[in-house]
Every structure is written in C-alpha cells, then in structure tokens.
Subunit: 567 residues, 2 copies
C-alpha cells in the first residue's frame, strides 16, 4: 500500500472528550471517526487492525471445530418473547417497529435466534455437538457510552453458541473454547488472563472471563503470584487463615465516646483495624436482620453475602432504627456479643483472639473478646473481598490485584434457552430432551482498543505484530529529487511484497519528520528509512517501533532482515 | 471440511411460500433460514458462497484503487436532516429512537455518513480523488419483501463513494468502476450486462445498472443483437423509421359503432393495429391537455412522455370528461385530425401513410388519414417503449428483450450531497468548491440468488467455480466397512487440501443416494466417488455437476485431474 493513495489522517491534538489513552490515540492516529455517541466509523487504517483480529479469531474458532454462519442484526420480538427476555432486558435492548408496526430489536446477542435455528434444524443427538459462530455488528444502547470503541453502542463481536446432548459434551466444548481463546490472545500478542467469573442467575458449573490487563480496565482481577489462578476480585475466595494460639485475656468494656469508626478506634485508642471487628446488619426479603461480622480492615463482598444459606433475596443493608431496636445501640457501637440475631462471621474475623468490638451500647466497646467464650452462636463464612497479599485460594502464592478489560466471556448456559424455546432433540434412548447449550463471546473491536492500552508510549501506538495494519513502512527521503532513492525504495517495496510482507511505502509529499511521527503514532512495528547518504554507503536504516536507535542493514540483506524481524 | 462436522441441512420439500427457483433451492439446500419476513440467517453453507462473492468484490475494488472502511449500521437523524433525506425518504427507511429519545435510522445507504466524513477529513484537492468502499449489512424496510434474499429487508451490500475535484476526475473513476464491475461479474462466471440507466432527478451524465439475465428478473432489458448496447426497456430509444413512399388516398369517414379499441377495429373492420393510431390525452400540472399519438400496436412510455418539452410535471392521464369537453368525443373515437390541442406524435406513428384514426366523433373513424395534409400542427418525439425486433439505437442489429436482475448500479452523484452538507475542498486556485461525488453499489447477497436463477437444473444448484462453497466433494462408498475406501478417501482428501483445493468429504453416515442427491442439490462443481470396486480397478469416478456421466480417473492421476478441473 502506498500512503499517497491511502487516507492517513493523523492529528497532533489530543481530543478533549477522550478520557483514556487508547481512545485518544485511536482518534489521533485516524483509526476511527465518531458519528454519534458510541457510534464510530472504522477508517481504512483502523479497519485493517479489526480485520487482523477477525482473521485470527476465525481461524482459531474453525480450528476448534466451530462453524461460521451469519445471523441477522434485526430480530423479531416474537423470539425474545419466547425466551422471556423481551420483558426482562432493560433499555440497552434497542427496540424498533417496522412499517407494519411489528416489534423488532437490534440484536445485542443472539441466543434466541440460534436456539430457534437449532430447534428446527437439529432433531437428533446424532447431529450433536454443534458449535456455531459469527462475527457480526451488534448494538447495545449503553446508557453512557465511553472510552471510544471500548464501550461503544455499535460494535463487532464474535459470538458462538454450542449445542449438546448433555453436560459432559458441553464441558468438552467449553474447555476447547477456553483453549481456543487462550490461543487467540496468545497469537494476538496480548497480556491477558482467563478469570473465573460469576455464573450468575443462570447457573452452570463454569464461566470464565478473558481479561486484558490494563490500568484503565473497569474490573479488578485477583491473580496468584505462583500459579495460573485468576478471578474477578468480587469472586475470589478468601481462605480461612490459621489461628495463632494465644491465651484468652479477661473480657473488658471501655468507654469510646464519639468513636464510631474503625479509624477513630485506631487513632484514639490504638486498636489496630486488623484487631477489631466491624458488625454490619443486613435485612433479607423476609425482614430478618442478620449480623455480618468482618475484621476492621476488610470489606464486605455483597455477592458473597447473597450466597449465605437461608436468606431470602434480595438483601439490603438494614436501617439504623431497625438495628437500634434489635441491639439497643447505634451504628458504630455494634458487636456480636450478646446479640439476639443470627451472626455470620467472616473467616478472617473468626480466627482473631482477644479482639475489640462494639459493646451494643452507645459509646462503649469491648476488648479481649473471644469467639466461643464470649459469643456462643455464630457461623463462619467467606464474606469479604480479597485484598492484595491474601493467600491465593489455589494454594500457591499470594494474590496480586490488577485492573482488567473484559474482552471475552465463555459461559455454560445449560438448558435456560432450550427449555424456554422448546429446543429439544431425541437422545440416545429416543427420549425428547432440551439441548444443553454454551455461549462464547469475544469483543473484536474492544480488543483493538485494549491492545493500545497495553501497547503504547509517548509517541503513539505500538501494535503487536499480528494486529499491525502494516508490518513495515518504507520511508524514502527526498524520493522526488533522488532517482537513486526512488529506485531503491521501489525495488525494496516490490521485493517485500513478493516475499508476502504486509508492507507500506510512505510516498506522500511530506517532510521526513512528519512521516517518522506518523509512523510512530500509527504504531507500525518496523520502519525502513531509505536515504541517499546511507544508500551511498550501501545501507538502509531499520528501526523497530520499540527500539531507541536504528540499525544499518546492507541493501542486499534488507529483505531477509525485514522478513525475519516481522515474522 | 468433513460433512460429519458441518451442518448440511437439505430437504426434498419445496417450500410453499418460495415463488422463484433460487428461493426454493436456497431453502432446500439449506443456504438460508428465514427469521422474519425478508430477514434471513445465512447458514454455514450459504455464508461460504457470500464470502466468495465478497472476496472477489473486495479484490477488484482494491485493484481499482478503492480503500475499504466500515461505516455504522445505525445512523443519527441529524446527518439525514442535513442532506434533506430525513423528510424525503419514504417508509423504506427504518427509523428508531435510542434510550434518550434521539432519532436514528438503520442505514439503507451511506451517502450522508461518508459525505460528513469526507467533509471533516478532506480539506484540499491534493487529497483527491479518493474512493471509499465498505461491505456491510444494510436494512431497507421493503413493503413486500420477496424472492428470498433477492428482495430482502436485511442484506449485504458493497457500497463505494468517490470524491473528486471536478467532473473529469469523477468520469475517470466512474469508468474505472465500470471496468471493475465487469471484471467482478466475469470472475464470478455470471451472464450479465451493463445497462444504461435513468440518471433520474439527480442528473449527472451517466448511470449504469449491472443486470444478471434471468427469467425471474424484475426489469426488462433491451439488447442489441450485434453490439454491446443494452438499456433498460423504459429508457431505450426508439429510432425514427424510414417512410415508405405511397400516394395519399382521399380521406374518408366511416361508422364504427361500439368499436372502442384497437383490437375491435382490427377484428371488425380489418384495420391492422400497425396501421391505426391510438390517441391518449395527458394533463400537465398546469391543467393543459396534450394529445400523445402512437401506432395502435405500441405502448406509451411514461418516462419518455415526461421528457416532452414545455410540460409542467407531474403529468397524469386526463379524465374522460375533460377530454370529451375538449374534443367532443369519448375515449375510443379520438384522433389528431381537427384537434384543438397540442399534438405530439411518436416517431413510428409519424411515418404512417393513409392510416386510420378516431374521428373525434363518437362511433366514427377516419381512413386514409395523412400527416401534413390532414393534420397541420404536430410535433414528433420518441414516446413509445421499444419492442423486440426494433432496430437498436446504437445503429447495429435489432433489439432483443430479456428480463434482468439488477445486481449493481454505478452513479454520478455530482454535488448533490456535498452541496447540501457543505463538503468543500480548496481547489487548485485556492477556491472553496463542493466535492464532486460518485457512488457505486453491488448487492452481494442478491448476487447469490441471481447466480442460482442462472445456474440450476432439475436436481439443484450448479455453482460457478468462483462462488462454489466447495470446489469438489469426495464421496467414499461404504467407508465404515472398507478400510481400502477409507484410506484412499483420506489420502485423496489430504492431497487435495495440500494442493490448495477447497475440498469437502461427505463422511456422513448416509446412504450413497442421499449423498449424491445432496451433492447435486447444493451444487458442488465436481464430485469424486471412491468405491471398493473401482479402487480394485485402480480408479475413482469423477463427475462434473453438468456432466451426464462420470469419468474413471486412475488414483495416481486423481489429484492432478481435480486440480485441473476446478482451476
């Protein structure tokens, strides 16, 4: 590709409304152009990157036995009514009416369409398993589109849906997809982690999110320093620590006027947060008050709290008046001693000895409190959100926490959709059973932005090789004036093309400084500078995007050098 | 691809609601599946064909210097208000509101988005010409979707838009696109014609439609038997015939009670339709009545009538009461003699001698009427629709008329959009001028259906080589029982794959008859049957989709034979 015939539209100005670096660089490098909030045109340079991602995803999906099809963008409401999601789905589902006033939506996801398809196409277990995928434009009416294509309304997604006779078969495909996703992100050269995710209300035994690590990520991911373990921070298990053997001291009550927080207790009375308890009350749907007890420095994890046995969902934090009625004390003086309520204690809090907690009497605390001796009835559960340095639940290493951008999600759907939509097959015994399903998504366009979050410097984007719009750019200096330069550039360009290299030549009538800056901004992995002076010495200058200096390579060796460098 | 792992979903039943053969065969072969009226899923087999068409289109667009980008499906109303089309476009434009109640539409075409893009990206003539294309899902809310994907609501289109400093530059790109389109349809192996089309209200000096010839086409195309000339029947010029020299006979009036049609005149009074006139009255927007006179056997062409000088648009057929007031006669007895109205005569009618026409008195006609002698004031114009056998307006051969399916359209837009949306550049003189634009569309998914209309037989589809989902299918007979067959089939499959052939193996557990029938229905160009008996003779059976019999080919020569046959 010659840049004289290709629209390179870079700018030095940082767009005011772009909050994250990838959004800024994508606009500055001319990869995308905004049409409306969360709706972008992919410019030629950006589209090349998208196509590179699509190619890798398509190849690996096919390698893993998935078959490509293409479902419509516009979907009839009837199918969504069958699954029940026409009512359930919020305003992110963009609904519309056709000229005959019939209801449709823009597909944010395709479970309904594919389940309806499988229902009519697949009658027997003999046709199973089947895994269909598509790479398609989707629309979700985000309330606050932001970060450019990272959270846009229109985006390109690879979504796959698998159909099975039973759970065993689903598990096989599920792990094959897990492996395919890992291969995809490896091939794209990205720093990612498969992360255990919440299986949510659908159930199913497994769900993994694939996160790319980046400071601008919207999720916190906990990793083991010693193993592959990674989980969303919300979901990572906090282990039961070992108890340090210490003799019980006599229980004491002391006055703590006005000290209503863990911090105040630490500051004024020298009680370390790690040695005090915080007692929170939640109220379940039946109105039952339950005390949740954590170590002073720990945070309640609401997802974990919802999993406590015997509580009616949803839970909410109890009102102070209700708590005062039950305990006799206000917030800030609560504790598990002599409490007329169910007490659930976090694991870390449950191993404390001679600790401090509220006395259930305003402005009073207890010290040298001990489980068993002072509180007879309590349950222990995992209630807190893990923090960096916690032992990893996998048993190896400690947890580290980083921010991640979710770019993939694999999910065991089970029979949620096939039951609702009556998508059954005859099994090996001739019995009609709902098909077991899995679904597997990758955010194609989001990957492009996330890759930039991971790979950039002050001068611009640094594309991983597999994603780069061009592998190498030739920059001839003074091509218009020097026939030597023009001839050498043309020859090298032709030779690299012949060698199958995705090569570009910046033959625009621009100053060398502009070309160098553009080449760095748009993130081409390798550039070859062809100037008269160096040609007279028989060399061209080759510089990798991450290199601080150029390397002189003889003209004869240039093709082989470039081929080697970009492969 | 092994069919055991690929969803082949054929059926013998002809779907009741499919009117045309391509729609029937696409459903029967399992290429598409209907989701709603005019909305289809492309099944894996069908998608392979779509991708093949896309690949050829993409390559030829790039060869012709066009650059690919991707514009959004969902477009903001603001842009359409700028161009004026938000009001003008009818209910085919699918309008919707987002969660914030802002107006959007699903793009049926992208002039507004690309003009807005060019407006902000291109400031100087130095960046021109530029030709952008995309291959994209579009939506048009057809009032009556039909013929499957031929006239669907959601479809895939290649649309391109070029930008120029002036008309000369546009013309260059226009003809380059004309050539690229011809190459595309040639490569796809289709029978097509570039057809001169109406430039309509936008103007511009040229517009061509590309039509594929097929009986189910919705347009009538007139071709020269001797040249490349082709035009939409509505637009083809009817030439002025030479006049046969004959002496004028004396004018006579005769009674024709109840004979109010050309047919009645012919039947009862022996007047050939080719020798009588029909006189029609149109009324222009100012209320002026104009008589349009044609030969009895010819049809008025309304597009041509609208081009008569001096008439205010729109025209409509005059009411009989108005005509009777003006002429004194009812419909069926009208003629141009002694008429107090403007008379415009079609070329073919203007060379008749001693002809018959209505006498402008009910139930009376005139015979031996002659132009000049009996009618002094009249104008001659091209008013009729051409018919088969007319001399071609190109001067060579006569016209033949066939039905065509429009699969491409190239168009000179001029400055319609750039003026409305203020998309200007600085020209060579530093003056701000609106960019001159062209647009170029190809109906990707429609081509798939049209190709089937052209290429099928009683057994199913017959894909042109470049479009076929697989180039060759291997059909091993009794693979489960015969290790010889299994080994030979596996080896041939591997060798063909290694040779770069798009090969499939039908390793499903189905009877040979089912496999043969499916192979013909889905239209694979070549099949290789591998059976134990023929293997014992050292051969396999190779049969082209259009062949009536198979050819025995030795096993050693099979790869070379297939490679040669499908290349």
């Amino acid at each position: 590709m010659r840049f004289s015939q290709f629209p390179i539209s870079t700018t030095k100005e940082t767009p005011a409304d772009a909050e994250v670096i990838s959004h800024q660089l994508m606009l500055r490098a001319g990869l995308i152009k905004r049409i409306a909030a969360g709706i972008y045109t992919w410019m030629p340079l950006g589209l090349k990157v998208v196509r590179n991602v699509e190619r890798v995803v398509r190849e690996e999906m096919e390698n893993a036995g998935a078959v490509e099809l293409s479902m419509p963008v516009v979907q009839p409401a009837e199918l969504w009514e069958e699954s029940g999601r026409w009512e359930q789905y919020g305003p992110e589902l963009c609904r519309l009416k056709d000229r005959h006033d019939r209801d449709f939506c823009l597909g944010p996801t395709h479970e309904e369409v594919i389940t309806d398809l499988a229902k009519t196409e697949i009658k027997s277990y003999k046709r199973l398993p089947l895994n269909f995928f598509q790479i398609q434009t989707k629309f979700r009416d985000e309330i606050r589109p932001r970060f450019g294509v990272m959270r846009s309304r229109e985006f390109v997604m690879k979504d796959a849906y698998s159909f099975h006779e039973n759970q065993d078969s689903l598990e096989q495909t599920y792990w094959r997809m897990h492996e395919a996703y890992s291969t995809i992100f490896d091939r794209l050269g990205l720093d990612y982690r498969p992360v255990e995710a919440d299986t949510g209300s659908i159930g199913g035994s497994h769900s993994h999110e694939f996160h790319m690590l980046a400071d601008s990520g919207e999720d916190d991911i906990a990793f083991s320093t010693e193993s592959d373990f990674a989980a969303n921070v919300e979901l990572a298990e906090a282990l039961l620590p070992e108890q340090v053997k210490t003799d019980f001291e006599p229980l004491e009550c002391f006055d703590t006027p006005g000290a209503k927080t863990i911090e105040a207790l630490e500051k004024r009375y020298g009680v370390p947060a790690t040695h005090s308890l915080k007692t929170l009350f939640v109220e379940d749907a039946q109105g039952e008050l339950v005390a949740l007890v954590l170590r002073g420095d720990h945070q309640l994890n609401e997802i974990k709290a919802e999993k406590i046995d015997g509580l009616s969902q949803p839970l909410r934090m109890a009102q102070e008046t209700a708590v005062k009625t039950a305990t006799g004390a206000s917030f800030g003086s609560l504790g598990p001693v002599n409490l007329n309520a169910r007490v659930v204690v976090d694991r870390a809090a449950s191993v404390l000895v001679n600790f401090v907690c509220g006395a259930n009497e305003d402005d009073k605390h207890l010290k040298n409190v001990n489980w068993g001796r002072d509180i007879e009835h309590y349950e222990v559960a995992d209630l807190r959100t893990v923090v960096a340095g916690d032992p990893s639940p996998c048993g190896a290493g400690v947890l580290e926490i980083k921010r991640g951008i979710e770019v993939g999600h694999i999910f065991q759907l089970g029979t949620k959709y096939s039951e609702a939509m009556n998508a059954t097959v005859l099994d090996q015994n001739g019995k009609s059973v709902p098909m077991t399903m899995g679904c597997y998504g990758i955010g194609i366009t989001r990957i492009v932005a996330a890759a930039i979050e991971q790979n950039h410097d002050a001068n611009g984007i640094i594309w991983p090789a597999a994603m780069a719009p061009f592998s190498v750019v030739l920059i001839p200096l003074g091509m218009e004036k020097s026939e030597t330069v023009a001839a050498a550039a043309q020859a090298l360009y032709a030779d690299l093309k012949a060698a199958g290299i995705n090569v570009a030549m910046d033959d625009r009538k621009e100053r060398p400084g502009v070309k160098f800056a553009d080449c760095e901004l748009i993130g081409i992995p390798l550039r070859v500078t062809i100037g008269e002076r160096s040609l007279n010495e028989g060399v061209v200058e080759v510089q990798g995007r991450r290199d601080s200096e150029a390397t002189n390579v003889t003209i004869d060796a240039a093709v082989a050098y470039v081929v080697d460098a970009v492969s």
